[in-house]
Amino acid sequence: MNSRAALDERVSLVELVDRVLDRGVVLRGDVTISVAGVDLVYLQLHLLLSGVEALGRKDPTPLPGPGDA
């Protein structure tokens, strides 16, 4: 997988984790969920984003197709 595809995949994963763990309806506010291994996602995103500049600026990332997200 090239770095661009890896970056796109990582961004999709971070977007997914953000949604499922930090948004959505909370019916029970007293449920405490610990997170195992998810902080790693953010660390990896940070590392990948640091390489964004090298990918070129005039080439916007296309929308993933259905089911890619």
Partner: protein, 224 residues
Amino acid sequence: MGLYLYCVGPAGTPAPDGLEGVDGHAVDCLDLAGLRLWVSDMGPAEPATVERVRAHAGVVEAASARITPLPMRYGQWFETESALRAALEDRREELARSLAQVRDALEFGVRVVDPEARRDAPPDGTSGRAYLEALARREREAAKARERGQRVAEALGAFLGGLVRAQRVRDGGADTLVAIDHLVARHDTGNYRRRIEEFPEREAGLRFFFTGPWPPYGFVDEEA
């Protein structure tokens, strides 16, 4: 054991068939308080992992095939059916409002990154005035980035016009200038995709990452 809740939708929407959820638990549909619920009969949710997050999202996505449900946040578990019913009835009006807002719509995400931005730590080994000046400089840069993120979000919203039913702006963290969610009617998703791909040309120097469609996680009141 208890009921783990993935999402709620209008009563009468089709049930999933042979679907597996968190930790491989079977997913069933349950009609309660005038809503259709996607649930698993299981104990309390274990700590979140990427695999469990994907499993939760997979059920919500399956439920979103024909209708737009309200996704739950990971970990919503109830010891008994009556406890779940009571929680739903307590929030009946808010849930109905949220369901009406997301009806026949899906969510798209836009993450905007400024490759030039650097969130460097203050210099090591310095003290006193130099250290405080470095902190102040970093805070000024962060404030400018937030303002720029807001401007980009507003410009994008204006560019998309009526293709967006609602927009929410959030701090994306991790070197992200701004993260934006759009709620888009299902019949407009093709036009939305085509239109938004034209926008990055207007914002030289920024990188745009588009994701979606998603179930509308960002367009429910958290304490619905």
